[in-house]
Amino acid sequence: MRFAETGFNLEVDLSRGNVERVATDPKDTELYLGGLGTSAKLMWDRVPPEAEPFSPENLLIFSAGLLCGTPAPGCNRTIVSTFSPQTKLLAYSMMGGFWAPELKHAGYDKVILRGKSPDLVYLWINNDKVEIRDASHLKGKGAVETADLIKKELKEPKAQVAAIGMAGENRVYFASIEQGRSSASRGGIGAVMGDKGVKAIVVRGTKDVHIAKPAEFMELCNYVLKYIKARDGNPIPGVMPILAGLGSPQEMIVHDEKWHTENFMWGNSRLRRKGFWTEEVAENWTNTMESMRTRLISCYNCPMKCGATISPPGLPTYMMKCFSKLTYTMGAMSDLEFGLRIAQSATEYGVDGFSAPQVMAFGLELLEAGILTDKDFPGMPDDNEGKFYWLLDKIVRREGIGDTLANGTHWAAEQIGNGAQEFAHNNIKKLEQLPLKLGMLNPIYFLMYSTGEKINITQIEGNFPQAPFATREEREEFVKDWPHVPDEKFKEYFVEWEQRGEKSIPYYPTPDATCEIVNWQEQMHYIDDSLGMCAGLSSFPLKPPYHIHNLPTFISSGAGIDMDKDELIQIAKRNRNLVRALNVRKGMRRADEKPPEDHWRKRFPELETELMDTYYKFKGWNSQGIPTEESLNELSLDYISKDFIQRGILKDGEDAPSGETSTEKEQK
């Protein structure tokens, strides 16, 4: 018997309309756990690097994490992976909600889509019965609306639906996959779903998910709940409210937006508005939220309330979470009422809440700069808000200038030329980032932004505080109760970290310490993304209930795989290198690994080079960021090193990082 996982994947060939239930190899679970890990392995084995994102060879994999469907609180994430039309690298966007546990109960760990359907279809997975059904009547329908219509059509109110809106159908490069209260948004995975001709995947399951050592597993689950309850009344002192608690940032609950509105950038990630948050704005926005928010809601088996049901007067109800609350408001330089209203359309269309507002603001900047002209915007209304509604509509329909903007700021700028590239300024690896511009380079963030395979600033943060506390006493107090650290040395790194002076950023933490900190933070993400654990209870906040010391026992008692801390760290490392290898094989090199040029005002080229060199070495990668033969083989990834040598990406016998420098020209 398989524990926690079902041991079966659903293979769907959309070109031939064929569906198969395929047993998986338990050895792969031992090596890569599940979720992102095993999906990345499938991508490596089955998608050649030459395959274009919009090609039948590209896979689109919907995966439950290893522990989804067990009683582990907050373990409910669906990990979607494919090659991104935007970055051309691996996209592995994730969503919470209810879909992954339902898939497990239906008897599958993953749904693997390949090929292309000639007509728009949806997939109906009802335990053992799987059908590819006609979706022509759903063409152009909103993602939320689609879910509602399908549940009625099938008379299955308990089914879970992951659907795309018009943006996905029209292959907008930043199209999302929506699942009611959650969405997998980054990297344009919704566009790949649309390219495959799949409008939705609908799941209903009534089978058991088994636990290997029930008593031990439940003891841990109960601990997690108790801990969450205790933390609820005891926020971490010394940090801003948004960092003091658990869960994803509590944007649906917190009304005080002084920090976001005055420190994050408005428009196309351009303008910092000091003094914006006045009493009048506060009152106005609080009223807006309170009048539109009908309920705070959770994902499957999680006590946190990170989401909300939003009912803007006169518009259909939708669900929202986290920072999309403000991205449209700030992108359009408008107010919260506008933000919550346009987000309703954006959710139905299915677009990424980070990229979409910046792409629209970028388009208007180009108009203002004369790079685009009024002729490119025929019929656009004169009022500011109207412009954004108009642009959103054009983008998701790919009409006129919308067809260009639908490719995201990077590719649109390439197409438009004439200096437009300067305006696509907030990207990492061609993907729009959180609108944040800061003063002093932070070495930890520098490495995370540059080298993070998730290519997403918000989702790589972690368990180490973002900034030092003001006094040593506060820092000592913080580390007193910090069993989460994988090693005691992290306490010292933090205690020594000053806001000013010798031991402050950018030179402290030292490059070596910075590598350790970055490594710890990303390690936790790779574990979560394989287990389907929500980062909000594990890798994202300070002092979470799940950490490196109890996760091994969750895995051993839940999935029946013997595991200790070191073994789990080894798996995280393996998965991290596997994902990197996928991107390296796609052509990613050191020159691609950099934050937006203007992310920090004060940059330190020499230090940055040192940081990159130290980090690559620490990781066992050569100076181009390519895992060496030796480090790959040590992780039982020999098949990757062989492939790299065969392709000339690595040279046989050249294990040690070579002496190439970062100034090398970008290899394409």
């Binding site: 469907g69 067990t70 009683p71 609180p73 209810f98 109960h105 939320v144 509602d148 109110p157 009611g180 209260r181 399951g205 009534t206 089978k207 058991d208 998910v209 088994h210 636990i211 029930p214 008593a215 597993f217 439940m218 709940l225 969450i228 309850k229 609820d232 009908t294 309920r295 705070l296 809601i297 959770s298 994902c299 499957y300 088996n301 999680c302 006590p303 309330k305 049901t309 259909p316 109800t317 939708y318 669900m319």
Partner: protein, 186 residues
């Protein structure tokens, strides 16, 4: 229901209730998860909401969240149905009903179709609160116990008289067999 004999003809019974606050429910369904795990055999060896004796009837877009506990098995559907509208929200017929009945797939074992019924997590040693309540951090489910004083029921004697008559007619063994069979069914 546990009954304790007290002096005289009066006795008290413990009434166990779960107070459900639909306004506080956040729809996470932790109650379903833990209920199914608690009632798995061996205990906690599996989880499956479809086997849970509590289900959250929910329709997020209409803001409907109703945790419902499995009550008695009913062989037949109701002849008539009722619909509630509360605070402008129209609830589906059967939304508040606890019965395991032919009209819906709620509260039935997914494989056998056998009815499920909430037992308030009766176990030995007994729990402080049913597991669903313990796992509901939103406090939508709150466990309450109260003692109710009841007058010892006279019918007890009638049953004895009736049983004696049955035993005289059919023999004690047969009556006992029948009772055992009935108990099993219940």
């Amino acid at each position: 229901m546990e009954e304790h004999a007290v002096s005289g003809h009066k006795k008290t019974k413990t009434v166990k209730t779960i107070r459900i606050d639909v306004d506080k429910c956040n729809g996470c369904r932790a109650c379903e998860v833990i209920c199914s795990a608690f009632h798995a055999s061996p205990r906690y060896s599996s989880s499956n909401s479809a086997r849970s004796r509590i289900r959250v009837i929910h329709d997020p877009l209409r803001d409907i969240y109703v945790p419902v506990y499995a009550g008695d098995y009913s062989m037949a559907e109701c002849a008539g149905r009722d619909k509630y509208t509360i605070d402008g929200k129209e609830y589906d017929e059967c939304a508040f009903c606890r019965a395991s009945c032919p009209s819906r797939d709620l509260f039935k074992e997914p494989d056998s179709g056998l009815p499920l019924k909430c037992d308030m997590c009766e176990s030995d040693p007994s729990l402080s609160e049913p597991m669903c309540v313990q796992w509901c951090l939103a406090d939508a489910l709150v466990y309450e116990e109260r003692e109710e004083e009841v007058v010892e029921e006279e019918q007890q004697e009638e049953i004895e008289i009736g049983l004696e008559a049955m035993a005289n007619k059919h023999g004690v063994q047969k009556v006992m067999d029948t009772l055992a069979r009935m108990t099993k069914k219940a």
